[in-house]
């Protein structure tokens, strides 16, 4: 019988940057092999290796599968270790192995960092490119739409005027003269409104749109705009109501611009709603103290994709949104809200109506000026 040489695995661990700790079922350290880092016998292994906190269930499994390649205790020590757990079948005990991985980590960390930084830069570039492309497309669309919007009423003006001019040769019946003059007048008003909107928008875009603030009563403004919108030609058969909240605060804002916001939203709603629909204006003081004015209709609503386009100047993807005003309305409302540091928000769903709300910040309200 030849003698089997005894071999103590511990020799292998001498000087190696690895420590093995044997723990009992309460996770108390019973034995430590290797001296690369301090693990105290008799103490809970989770005190030195907090990564094991929460893993108790996994550790009590027959075959625990705990392998964490890079773990470092934050704060001061950055020393990364690899943690793995093995069960010794003879003694039924658990061995926790900690291995120093600082060398691998320093290389890997640089790689991960470079990879992440590059992907982030790449994503940013892609987003910038997309934004530039969309902006470019929006501009082309804008120009096409502006010309279209200007042409339609201009044609009415020119057509009407040239008929009236021919009266020299062949006088028209009085009624026709009145009809043509009315058309010319209305188209002129439309053009003026369009040009005013364009000026506002370009001022807003260049940061030159100023607001003239004063203390005003939102209720009075809303009331006025609701009455005005009832008089719009498309408003026939549509119920437009204002449901005032008990405590509408005084607001520090530009009343002319607040009116513009409301009238834009109301006339947009009126244009898409069919007779029998209902449009209501609601007010609410939010928990945050902000004051929210909502114009809600039960009209056709729109899809999220179309909503995004509708918010662009002249961004009208199809007939569904096309009908909404001159196409500048929402873009201007958003800018005007912004000038008041108000949050403009639209919630809508295709077929389920639309609610456009403007939330004026609490600091603009009388109750908060104490």
């Amino acid at each position: 019988m030849s003698e089997v040489p005894t071999f103590d695995a511990r020799i292998l661990l001498e000087g190696a940057r690895i420590v093995a700790a044997r723990v009992d079922e309460d996770l108390i350290v019973r034995e430590v092999v290797g001296d690369w880092c301090e693990v105290a016998v008799g103490e809970d292994v989770r005190d030195t290796v907090p990564a094991l906190i929460g893993m108790e269930d996994e550790l009590s499994q027959e075959l625990p599968y705990v392998q964490l390649p890079f773990v470092s205790l934050g704060m001061s020590h950055e020393q990364p270790v690899a943690i793995s757990v093995k069960r010794d079948w003879e003694t039924q005990s658990l061995w926790i192995l900690l291995r120093d991985v600082s060398e691998e980590a320093s290389v890997q960390e640089r790689l991960v960092h470079q990879h992440n930084a590059l992907s982030l830069a790449h994503r940013e570039l892609a987003a910038a490119r997309d934004a530039a492309l969309t902006a470019d497309k929006a501009k082309t669309r804008f120009l096409a739409n502006v010309s279209h919007e200007l042409r339609t009423p201009l044609n009415v003006v020119i057509g009407g005027a040239s008929i009236l001019r021919k009266q020299r040769d062949k006088p028209l019946p009085n009624d026709d003269v009145i009809t043509f003059s009315n058309d010319i007048h209305d188209s002129g008003i439309l053009l003026l409104q369009l040009v005013d909107d364009l000026i506002d928008l370009s001022r807003a875009e260049t940061g030159n749109l100023t607001i003239y603030e004063e203390w005003c009563n939102p209720s009075v403004i809303i009331d006025e705009m609701v009455r005005l919108s009832r008089g719009l030609p498309e408003a026939e058969g549509i119920e437009i109501v204002y449901l005032p909240n008990e405590n509408v605060p005084e607001m520090y804002a530009d009343p002319r611009r607040v009116k513009q916001i409301l009238l834009n939203l109301l006339s947009n709603a009126v244009k898409v709603c069919s007779p029998g629909s209902r449009i209501q204006v609601e007010t609410e003081v939010l928990g945050s103290g902000d004051f929210k004015i909502t114009v809600r209709d039960n009209g056709p609503g729109m899809s999220q994709a179309n909503l995004a386009i509708a918010l662009e100047p002249f961004g009208q993807p199809n007939a569904e949104t096309r009908a909404r005003g001159t196409g500048l309305g929402l873009a201007i409302v958003a800018k005007l809200a912004d000038l008041h540091q108000a949050k403009f928000d639209i919630t809508t769903e295709l077929g389920k109506g639309l609610a456009a709300s403007t939330s004026f910040p609490a600091m603009r309200l009388s109750s908060n000026t104490g």
């Binding site: 989770r46 907090p50 990564a51 906190i53 929460g54 893993m55 108790e56 269930d57 996994e58 705990v66 392998q67 964490l68 390649p69 890079f70 773990v71 470092s72 205790l73 934050g74 704060m75 990364p80 980590a105 890997q108 960390e109 991960v112 960092h113 990879h115 992440n116 930084a117 992907s119 982030l120 994503r123 987003a127 928000d345 919630t347």
Partner: protein
């Protein structure tokens, strides 16, 4: 006292490390240094529970970022009592990856509370109400807009999640 493991996950560069370092050490750096593997932070805090102040201990897992949860993230999430899913408000498509991370948590750690942190609130606006409502509906989750830079809502985020974790505990007893 039992310590709770809380994992912080999300895409890289969204501010996971920054949020934890703001909460634990009250510091912030503009420099980006990617996290490799996981960094652990031990932290004690005092939070109100049923009207009394209660001392709590957390082990926060700052996990290497990835656009979508993978094998590694799942392995690290083992045994967590709760999770914080971080998104970056400056990124246009931040919500979908957050949903995917939350789905992973739901599958791996059923019933554990999830907190959504919409970070970098100092430089970008909050998500719109309908997105928030959809997340709440789906995950019954805690949703907070945070800024690791200014510290805005950072302790609140961690404390509210911890309250939920403790709530779950007592609820189960």
């Amino acid at each position: 006292m039992k310590a709770h493991k809380v994992i912080v996950i999300g895409d890289f560069g969204v501010g996971k490390t920054s949020l934890i370092r703001r909460y634990v050490l009250d510091v912030f750096s503009d420099q980006y240094r990617a996290t490799l593997g996981v960094h652990l932070y031990k932290h004690s805090d005092v939070i109100p529970v049923n009207g009394t102040e209660q001392q709590i201990k957390l082990v926060l897992w700052d996990i290497e970022g990835a656009p979508l949860p993978g094998e590694q993230m799942m392995r690290y999430s083992l045994g967590a009592s709760g999770a914080i899913v971080v998104g970056d408000l400056t990124r246009p498509d931040m919500i979908e990856p957050m949903r995917r991370a939350a789905d992973m948590i739901e599958a791996r750690l059923p019933g554990r509370p999830i907190g959504f942190a919409f970070n970098k609130y100092d430089i970008a606006p909050a998500p719109n109400d309908s997105d928030i409502a959809a997340l709440k509906d789906r995950y019954g989750a805690l949703i907070t807009c945070t800024s690791a830079k200014t510290g805005d809502a950072v302790p609140t985020l961690f404390r509210n999640l911890t309250s939920l974790i403790l709530g779950k505990k007592t609820g189960a007893l």
